[in-house]
Amino acid sequence: MRKYVIRRLAFLLVSLALASVTLFVLLRIMPGDPANALLPVGATPEQITAAQHQVGSDLPLIVQFLHWIRDLSTFHFGTSIISSYSVGPEIASRLSLTVPLTLIAFVVAVAIAIPLGFIAAFKAKTWYGALLNGFSQLGIAIPVFWVGVIFIFIFALKMMILPSGGIPPEGWANFPGMLKYLILPVATIALVMSSSLTRYVRSATLDVLGSDYLRTSRSLGSTFTQAMVRHGLRNAAAPVISIVGIELATTFVGAVVVESVFALPGLGSLLVRAIAQHDYPVIQGVLFISTFAVLIIGFFADLIQRLVDPRLITNLSGGLK
């Protein structure tokens, strides 16, 4: 196991390196100079040179790359081209919204999916079990931003019981207020995520219900409940845990989109604005942090999965057989 952890860590670092290089390359092949964002139409040559110098695009590409690596390792993301704020702290403050939003939405989605998935599996042959299954199939087809708009329409505009967007000015200092403003965004993300999670839980539970080892346990005298608890739970959890990493990443992406629906000042809205404005340092910073987060989540998810399922430890080559 220890050997695997080291190997996986090395893999993580390589992935990070690869991601940094890719980010760097992709953003530099954009037609046009990043300095253009700073310039008015019909700028004089002196203005152009000054802007390039400010942005650093007059330096050789290699030097730019080395600066990039140096900055990344110290989490210095430079300053915004458009508004001259320091990117690092801005990202940090935005994370304080996006991270809780993602986590809360994920927890809510899981809390919904587990019981629903169980019911859908146990009652798979009944009409409501089939209905539940149908709903979860529907849920994965629904665009998350559409749900958001519909929720705003119903709860904020028609019924007027919840805010339609934004956050309280004091931020987390106003904890209850913050929660109130996050109800709809969380509900939006959780609705969509719980659909796919329910399908996984249902599938895993069905596998367990039809399994031979459950039958063996019962043939030796255990009650159905005893057999399920002793054998069923762990075996059902294993496949679900294996997708937690990906689902968490998907939740994060959902949060990024939903922030635009509800005008939440999180990482997502920062990214969207930066892309529209060609604000490179910001784009780089946000995407790097996102990549970093996704890779780290994947790393831990992988480790947890291997702790849960001993069969995986023996199959070290390139993922699951």
Partner: protein, 275 residues
């Protein structure tokens, strides 16, 4: 050659029916629209009426016409992205499937990294680099999905290659290209087609998300996503304008999911129902 057992699948029938309708609408939209997209005489944000079946948008353009154009875009993105994902993914996947030891491990590792990265973020990255346009979106989404296709292909190829009839074929002197054409491809394409169908829907959703965020094709190419984004501000006056695009997206994705389920059933009806 594997023969497909004849078996009526309601999923397949319904799915095909829905998507055919959408395709029909898109095709018609090239020849005829109820109102041209430049026509802003409808009165701003009017309600559904006999002349404008779903009302008009904030500039007075007929909503039905805009939705029909949106269908075009959704389908174009779906087909193109899946095409790209298929070509790139199949090639990479085949290469990985035939590769051994360290080459295989590195390719798999690369694929795992790509897959771990959410498609939408990848798409945003590419759009950031190349600017917002329909082609950027298509390339971005297609590229993101190719990793999934590649991994699936690799798995399938490895499975086929481990079978005895391949060894027998080689022993009788068949060349690799012939083996690929005669044995590998026929055995992997059923599962791949199912995956393509699913990815089609996901591509549509991804493009809609990009457009909603303003990172997709710029107006007047009204993708359903942008329509929804426009409609959000005026959802109180004209809820239809916000509901309709979403509904159509849902219909599109459901139809391809049904097709995917149906294909699975047809290929092997003894398999337990879509899990």
């Amino acid at each position: 050659m594997k023969t497909v057992k004849a078996h009526r699948s309601w999923s397949l029938i319904i799915g095909l029916a829905i998507i055919s309708t959408i395709i029909l609408v898109a095709l018609i939209s090239w020849l005829w629209l109820p109102y041209s997209l430049d026509n802003t005489d409808g009165g701003r944000l009017s309600q559904p009426s006999a002349t404008h079946w779903l009302g008009t948008d904030k500039l007075g353009r007929d909503l039905v016409s805009r939705l029909m154009v949106g269908a075009r875009i959704a389908l174009t993105v779906g087909f193109s992205a899946v095409l790209i994902a298929g070509v790139v993914g199949l090639t990479l996947g085949m290469a990985a499937g035939f590769a051994q030891k360290w080459l295989d491990e590195s390719l798999s590792a690369l694929l795992d990294i790509l897959i771990a990265f959410p498609t939408l973020l990848l798409a945003m990255l590419i759009v950031a680099a190349r600017g917002s346009s329909l082609t950027s979106a298509i390339f971005a989404i297609g590229f993101g999905m190719s990793a999934i296709i590649a991994r699936l292909t690799r798995l399938l190829v490895k499975r086929v290659l481990s079978k005895d009839f391949i060894t027998a074929s080689r022993a009788s002197g068949t060349s690799w290209p012939r083996i690929i054409a005669l044995h590998v491809l026929p055995n992997i394409w059923p599962t791949l087609i199912v995956s393509f169908a699913l990815q089609f829907g996901l591509a549509g959703l991804a493009e809609a998300s990009l457009s909603y965020l303003g990172l997709g094709a710029p107006p007047p190419n009204a993708s359903w996503g942008s329509l929804l984004q426009e409609a959000q501000a005026t959802v109180m006056t004209s809820p239809i304008a916000a509901i309709a695009p979403g509904l159509l997206l849902v219909a599109l994705v459901i139809s391809v999911n049904l097709i995917a389920d149906g294909l699975r059933e047809v290929a092997d009806p003894t398999l337990r129902r879509a899990r």
